[in-house]
């Protein structure tokens, strides 16, 4: 009995320990809330008619500075979270290594850019200067940053999804083994759950294919961009390729819309994985009824 309790406790501890950590954690969330607050304050100051123009302009300048500072702080926190997650990624794949190295360099350069801007915010004395700085940071983000960060975030999340897929595969094997035991004990007719098990297996396989497609899109996008940058700097590329035909799976037996980017592929992969667990639960409930 004690041994059983120990095994269960150890299992739960390991589950908690290996629970995927969010890519963007609590601090990012707090920073995002700060930014919302400072934007609201700026809007209030802009609309406040109770102050004199001079007083309002002084407060508006400070409020604008605060928005820029909070935006920079949020961006730096976002980079820090991504750096930590990306550095933890262990790979022997050369393409992934190249992407990892280049992305970490980019994160470093973005960190330097934001750090530099953060250093000058408080030195700005005029409204035009702070507006220009805000616009400069926005342009920087729109030009390349948002796209690259989304790509990095998606890649990290896809690696988390790989872990979730591995867990689902192990779960499938354990259920299969348990069902075989029940068949041997004559609790269940041989092959009674075969259709469900095959259905779950298909969901898992589709999740694997969709995840692999998503990673391939990210890596191809990165490689195309690297080549384009070598020949013509600052030219961006867009992914418009559809995934391979064997991947799209309807969760509710409906035709899946064509997915065209890594984010949608990752979402579809997770949706398939969720469906596999739905099937597992159906099997579990049926077995429970049989055994009771």
């Amino acid at each position: 009995m004690k041994k059983t309790n120990f095994i269960i406790a150890a299992g739960l501890v390991s589950l908690i320990a290996f629970f995927p950590k969010p890519v963007l954690g609590a601090e990012t969330k707090a920073n995002a809330e700060n930014l919302t607050t400072s934007v609201n304050q700026l809007i209030e100051v802009k609309d406040d008619k109770s102050m004199s123009d001079v007083e309002r302009l002084a407060k508006e300048l400070e409020a604008r500075k605060q928005v820029v500072k909070d935006a920079l702080s949020l961006s730096l926190k976002e980079i820090s979270g991504l750096e930590t997650s990306f550095k933890a990624l262990k790979t022997k794949d050369e393409r992934v290594s190249a992407f990892q190295k280049s992305s970490l360099e980019y994160l470093e350069s973005a960190k330097a850019f934001y750090g530099e801007q953060a250093g000058i915010v408080d030195k700005l004395a005029s409204m035009d200067e702070i507006k220009a700085l805000a616009q400069k940071i926005k342009d920087y983000r729109d030009e390349n940053y948002n796209k690259k960060i989304e790509r990095i975030t998606n890649f990290i999340l896809l690696n988390q999804i790989d872990g979730l897929i591995a867990t689902a595969e192990t779960r499938w094997q354990k259920i299969d083994s348990d069902l075989k035991k029940l068949e041997r004990g004559a609790f269940v007719s041989p092959g009674y759950f075969d259709a469900n098990m095959q259905k779950a297996k298909k969901y898992i396989n589709d999740a694997i294919s969709l995840g692999a497609d998503a990673k391939e899109h990210i890596l191809k996008d990165f490689e195309t961009e690297a080549l384009t940058e070598e020949s013509a700097p600052l030219t961006t590329t867009e992914i418009t390729t559809a995934p391979s035909e064997n991947t799209a799976t309807a969760v509710n037996e409906e035709p899946t819309p064509k997915v065209v980017n890594p984010k949608e592929l990752a979402e579809a992969s997770l949706t398939n994985l969720k469906s596999s667990y739905d099937v597992f639960l159906q099997i579990s409930q049926s077995v429970k009824k049989i055994l009771q």
């Binding site: 969010p22 930014l35 004990g185």
Partner: protein
């Protein structure tokens, strides 16, 4: 040994044979009973093992489903942060009254959507963060 003794021992042989058959029958019935007991015990063990496993399985499945939901929410979280930052910087760079700011109006219009999933993202992340 005299002749009578030899005859007596010869006539005792059938009695030994009957005992052997009885013993064999008894042993067989004992063995069958033991096999039945083992079979029943094994079935009971498989049954109780499976029920215990199922309960643990359902807990683990719920945990796995939470992980999947969190990862699903996280996929969109970056886009939300990016749009929030972009809107904030636009506000800081904007000229004129804020209530005519296009980004702000878009944000307010977005918040009117019934199926906006932003709240869900925060709830799911809270499950992990706090």
């Amino acid at each position: 040994m005299c002749r009578e003794d030899l005859l007596a021992s010869a006539s005792a042989k059938p009695a030994i044979k009957i005992d052997l058959w009885r013993n064999l029958g008894l042993s067989l019935s004992l063995a069958l009973t033991a096999m039945l007991v083992v079979f029943m015990a094994q079935n009971a063990a498989v049954s109780s093992y499976s029920i215990a496993n199922l309960e643990k399985f359902e807990e683990e499945t719920a945990l796995s489903q939470d992980q999947i939901n969190i990862t699903l929410a996280e996929i969109n979280y970056h886009s939300e942060l990016a749009s929030k930052t972009s809107m904030a910087l636009s506000e800081a760079a904007a000229e004129g009254p804020s209530h005519l700011n296009q980004n702000l109006l878009m944000k307010e219009a977005e918040s009117l959507k019934i199926d906006s999933g932003t709240g869900d993202v925060d709830i799911l992340l809270d499950q992990v963060i706090f």
